[in-house]
Symmetry: C2
Subunit: 234 residues, 2 copies
DNA sequence: CGCACACTTGAACCCCCTCAACCCAAGTGG
DNA sequence: CCACTTGGGTTGAGGGGGTTCAAGTGTGCG
C-alpha cells in the first residue's frame, strides 16, 4: 500500500520551508487529513476578491499571482506566490485579493474551521503564521517604496535582484532567473506598462547587465550594478 | 493614592481598540508593569530603519508616520499610526522602517523578551496580533493598488475617504477630517509631490467636493462622489 | 514687524504611457 | 505543407499626467 497516498504531506515539495514545518513529522498525518490537494491549470483563478473567505491555501507547486482590480480593468499584482507560500490570511469574511495560477500549479486547501482546530492544537503553527504575516508586511512596505518612489529602471532592477534572492535556493547555474510570469504580469506588479518593462529589459541587455536566453529566463551578468540601481544609487 | 499611577493602562485612551483589549481588566496591572510610557515631541524619530529591533511600541496619543528612505532622500510613507496602533512587528532583528512623531505623541514601549512573556501568558494576545498583522496586510495591498495604478485624483480621493472611514469614531461634526500631517507627508504617502497634492486639493475645493477651513482640516462635501473617484469610477 | 515655514500657483519639461506596427513561435486546420 | 490565427514580445513615434523649477501667498510666532 503506497504510504504517500495517506500522507501526502511528508513527500510534499513545500515541506520544510512552508508553515507546515512548524508541525512535527509524527503529527503530519493529522495535517494531511485536514488538507485537500487541488491542481490548477495555467490561468485558473481560485480566489476571487470579495468572495467569502472560506478557505486557506498553501501553494505546493507552480506559481500563482495575487492581484487586485479596479472597475475599469486596471490591475495591480501584489505578489507572486511560489511553493511553500501560504495564502488567505484574513480577519475579514471576504478575500481582499484574487489569486490565479500563472502556470500549472498545485495548492493545498484548508477550511477555516479546520485550520482553527489545527491552530488550537499546534500553538507553534500560530506563531509561524504570525512570522509569515510579519515577513509579508515587510515585503509589502518594500514594494510600497518601489511603487511610490522608484523609477522604471530601479523597479525592474529591484524585481530581478529580488527574484534572485528569493529564488529557489537549489539549481542555480550562474545567476539565472526563471520568469514564469509574462511581461504584462511583471508590469502589473511593478506599476508599469508592458512596453516599459520590455524596453527596460532591452536596455539592460544592451548594456550587458543581463542576458535574455528566452522569454521565461533572465541571466544576471552584473549583479552588483543591478543591486546598486535597485537600491536607488546613481 | 492615585490608582492610575500604578495602572496607567486602565485609563489609557487607546484601551479598548488596541491590541491591549485582548487582556482582561484584572490582568491589566501585569501589562502596565511591562510597558514603559514615552512622550514624543513633534518631529522626534523613535524607530530608525536598520537599527536592531529591541522594542515594540503601541501608540497611545498623537500620530506617528512610518516611512522608508532611499539613499538620495526620496521618502515613502508606508502608513500613519494613531492611538491604538501597534508597531514593530518583525521577525527580523532589525527594523524595516523608521517611525517619527508628526505631532506631540505618546507611545507605550515593550521590550522584546517582555512581550514574549506576555504572549506566552496571554494566548489571546498572540491571536490579536495575528489579526492586526492581517489587517495591515490588507491595507498594504490596497495601498499597492493605489501607488501602482491610481491617478493623482484617485489617490487623493482615496486618502480622504480612508481618513474619514478610519478616523476617530467620536467627534464628527459633519464630515470633517483632521490632517495632522503636512502636504509633504501626504505626498510621500501617496507617491506624489507636494505640488500635485496641493493642486488636487485646490481642484476638489473649486469643484465644491471638499472645503478646507485650515491647513490641518478638510471637510468632505460630496462623499459619494469622492468615494466613486477613489474606487476608480468615471 | 519680520522671519520661518507651510502651502499655493504658474510655466516648462520629461519620464512614462498610449497607440500602432511589427516580429516570432506555437498551434490549427484545410 | 503551408496559410492562417493567436498570444506574447519588441520597437518606434507622439502625447500627456505629474514633476521640476520658480515665484508668490498666507500665517504663526519671536
Amino acid at each position: 500500500m503506497p504510504q504517500h497516498e495517506h500522507d501526502p504531506c511528508s513527500s510534499c515539495a513545500a515541506r520544510g520551508y512552508s508553515v507546515c514545518s512548524a508541525i512535527d513529522d509524527k503529527d503530519l498525518g493529522r495535517l494531511a487529513a485536514t488538507a485537500v490537494v487541488r491542481d490548477l491549470a495555467k490561468g485558473e483563478t481560485f480566489i476571487e476578491e470579495g468572495d467569502s473567505a472560506s478557505d486557506f491555501f498553501n501553494v505546493t507547486r507552480g506559481t500563482v499571482k495575487l492581484y487586485k482590480l479596479l472597475p475599469d480593468g486596471r490591475q495591480q499584482v501584489t505578489g507572486f506566490a511560489g511553493a511553500g507560500h501560504f495564502l488567505g490570511l484574513a480577519v475579514s469574511n471576504t478575500y481582499a485579493f484574487s489569486a490565479e495560477a500563472i502556470e500549472q500549479s498545485r495548492v493545498c486547501r484548508f477550511s477555516r474551521p479546520k485550520l482553527r482546530e489545527l491552530l488550537h492544537d499546534f500553538p507553534a503553527l500560530e506563531e509561524r503564521l504570525l512570522q509569515t504575516a510579519c515577513n509579508e508586511l515587510v515585503a509589502a512596505q518594500e514594494q510600497m517604496l518601489l511603487l511610490g518612489r522608484k523609477t522604471a529602471r530601479e523597479r525592474v532592477a529591484s524585481f530581478l535582484v529580488a527574484r534572485l534572492e528569493t529564488g529557489i535556493p537549489c539549481v542555480n547555474p550562474s545567476d539565472a532567473i526563471a520568469l514564469p510570469m509574462t511581461r504584462g504580469e511583471i508590469a502589473d506588479y511593478l506599476g508599469l506598462t508592458i512596453e516599459t518593462v520590455s524596453r527596460t529589459f532591452s536596455r539592460f541587455k544592451a548594456e550587458k547587465r543581463i542576458a535574455i536566453p528566452s522569454n521565461t529566463e533572465v541571466v544576471i551578468l552584473d549583479r552588483p550594478w543591478l543591486s546598486g540601481i535597485a537600491a536607488g544609487l546613481q
